[in-house]
């Protein structure tokens, strides 16, 4: 079901700052910010009223907060790669965009203090900093790994780093941190910090590689998936993945309403570009 807190509104851009290869954008959203949880996303109409881009663009919420004066702020990290995100990143303070938020599932927060490892790929790190703050406030130990193809694509703002016990960086080209992939450094970190739980957000191949490790060592893996969406609200059936349900039945499951945060150990990753045998209704 659609996130019960979701509202549609025209939100004014408060600020838009270039940080490395990304844009940090802040929107004024009134009390809607109260309903946002780490892991939720926002769907934004792009291109203006005469746009040829008919579909919304989905962005993970970087953080959401209420100010003392009662205004709510929604912050995003936008990677201007496609025409839609380029248009959004080109908008300036004072302009308004139509958005729907919060959408989708949120990261589950453990009731007991645990040792959590947060793993982000590229701008997939965006929702992890608010998650880190929440986990810290519940007494968890929080370690973080961020990976990208190159140093410029690591998104790790200073204030975000404060909420983690350790930060490990990996880059494919070795321009920052350890050369290699996040999955290369995970086994040692899991052992060193006695990790109970992994949270992740990033490209599908990264999530699949993390799942291979979490299944092997038997720890919980909550991941935020990135599947192409058309509507973001559960209507169009575009953004599906094969996922095993609590009843043991594998279904093509909508990542916009039953995700983006899913139990990574229940996703059939290697079959995610296929309809696996045994899927309901194949």
């Amino acid at each position: 079901m659609i996130n019960s807190k979701a509202v549609q509104m025209d939100a004014e851009i408060i600020s838009n700052k270039r940080i490395g290869t990304y844009n940090h954008m802040v929107f004024s959203v009134d009390e809607m910010a109260n309903g946002c949880r780490p892991g939720n996303f926002v769907a934004i109409a792009v291109g203006g009223p005469a746009s040829s881009m008919v579909l919304r663009r989905a962005f993970a919420i970087y953080r959401a907060s209420m100010r003392a004066d009662g205004t709510g702020l929604l912050e995003l990290v936008v990677a201007p790669l496609g025409n839609g995100s380029k248009w959004l990143a080109s908008q300036v303070a004072g302009q308004k965009v139509n958005l729907i938020a919060p959408l989708g599932t949120a990261f589950g927060i453990p009731t007991q203090p645990v040792n959590a490892l947060l793993v982000g790929g590229g701008y997939g790190s965006a929702p992890l900093f608010a998650l880190a703050e929440t986990l810290k406030s519940r007494g968890c130990r929080v370690d973080m790994v961020l990976g990208a193809s190159t140093a410029g694509k690591i998104y790790a703002p200073l204030e975000g780093k404060r909420s983690v016990n350790s930060l490990t960086i990996t880059t494919d080209d070795g321009s920052a941190g350890t050369t290699g992939r996040v999955s290369d450094v995970l086994p040692a970190l899991i052992q060193e910090h006695e990790i109970d739980l992994i949270y992740s957000c990033g490209p599908m191949a990264m999530l699949e590689a993390i799942t291979a490790i979490t299944q092997q060592v038997g720890i919980v893996h909550q991941c935020s998936v990135e599947e192409a969406m058309a509507c973001g609200i559960g209507v169009c059936m575009t953004c599906v993945l094969p996922v095993e349900g609590d009843d043991g039945v594998i279904r093509m499951t909508r990542t916009c309403v039953d995700g983006p945060v899913m139990n990574g150990n229940k996703v059939l990753w290697s079959k995610s570009r296929d309809i696996p045998d045994g899927v309901w209704g194949k």
């Binding site: 979701a6 008919v54 579909l55 058309a230 209507v235 169009c236 059936m237 575009t238 570009r273 209704g281």
Partner: protein, 311 residues
């Protein structure tokens, strides 16, 4: 102001002419978060098949200029679970319900019609015949006058009662009026025009088709002139058949254009993906436009663009 916004489709009246389009609203369970389903003329549910369907592999979608391609593959729970879960819920919402059905064989359509004949609270049946016919080399029913007629005739024989049959036609044909004539002779009470057009996008990075099924159905404002043309042609050929028009309607002006061409009702499809409130906004804009242009009722505006030819 006593503008009459109501419309009539083969003897069933609707308080306004704006419907959802099948496959673009599910069964309304998500859109009800944004508006009351009874505010629309009708909810046309996602085409349902006999058995549960997983749908196609991903990627299922590609955005295109002023449109999108989709190849969902009719993912759904099958008619039995649909009748158990979705129909009672829609009735509780006070929605007027048009159930869309799809089959792979003529017999599928017959069985689906038999399952629906005893269901109460339905306003009409939409027969989606833009599906591959497994008994005819996978050729789409709607692309051939004989197979289109056979599918509609199977529904006509089995539906019984007064429930109007709306045949949904594909524009991917040489002469859509010939298909329209054929399904009307077979017992269709109304036509839904138009379904998506077959298209393809090749990813110039991977050098391969973007969709897993290679081709997909093109929808959105890009196809609107084709919808207007198809509706206009069929209206000229069949002056009295009720037409549910659709194809790239994104605002009230677009809906008005299809109405002038001959549509007795308008379905809103892809626009809902971009804006869950689209159908409601279009409804309000269309009513204002009809009034502003001096029409006393919605029905007066239907087919108005044909007036010089009929005189």
């Amino acid at each position: 102001m006593n503008f009459n916004f109501g419309t009539d489709i083969a003897g069933t009246t609707f308080p306004n002419p704006i419907f959802t389009a099948s496959g673009c609203a599910g069964s309304g369970k998500e859109l009800v978060h944004f508006f009351s389903l009874s505010d629309l003329g009708a909810i046309v549910t996602k085409s349902i098949m006999l058995k549960p369907r997983s749908g196609r592999a991903t990627p299922r979608m590609a955005e295109t200029p002023s449109g999108m391609l989709n190849s969902i593959g009719l993912q759904g729970p099958g008619i039995d679970l649909f009748l158990e879960n979705d129909i009672p819920w829609l009735r509780d919402q006070g929605a007027r319900i048009i159930v869309s059905i799809a089959g792979e064989t003529v017999e599928d359509y017959a069985v689906l019609a038999r399952k629906l004949r005893t269901v109460s609270g339905l306003s009409a049946i939409e027969v989606n015949i833009s599906c591959p016919n497994v008994e005819n080399r996978g050729q789409v029913f709607a692309c051939n006058p004989e197979t289109a007629r056979d599918a509609i005739a199977a529904v006509r024989r089995n539906i019984g009662g007064e429930l109007p049959i709306i045949a949904k036609l594909s524009p991917d044909v040489t002469d859509i009026t010939a298909i329209a004539q054929s399904v009307v002779e077979a017992g269709a009470d109304s036509l839904a025009l138009i379904n998506t057009l077959l298209g393809m996008v090749i990813d110039t990075n991977t050098l391969s088709p973007k969709l897993s099924q290679r081709t997909g159905g093109l929808s959105g404002p890009a196809i609107r002139p084709i919808a207007v043309r198809a509706i206009y042609q069929v209206r000229a050929a069949l002056p009295t058949i009720p037409i549910v028009g659709m194809g790239g309607v994104a605002n009230g002006r677009d809906a008005f254009e299809l109405v002038l061409a001959g549509a007795n009702a308008i379905s809103v499809g892809t626009a809902t993906f971009g804006n869950p409130m689209a159908a409601i906004t279009i409804k309000n804009e269309l009513e204002e436009l009809c009034i502003a242009r001096g029409f006393n009722s919605f029905v007066e505006a239907v087919s108005y663009a044909h007036r010089t030819e009929s005189k």
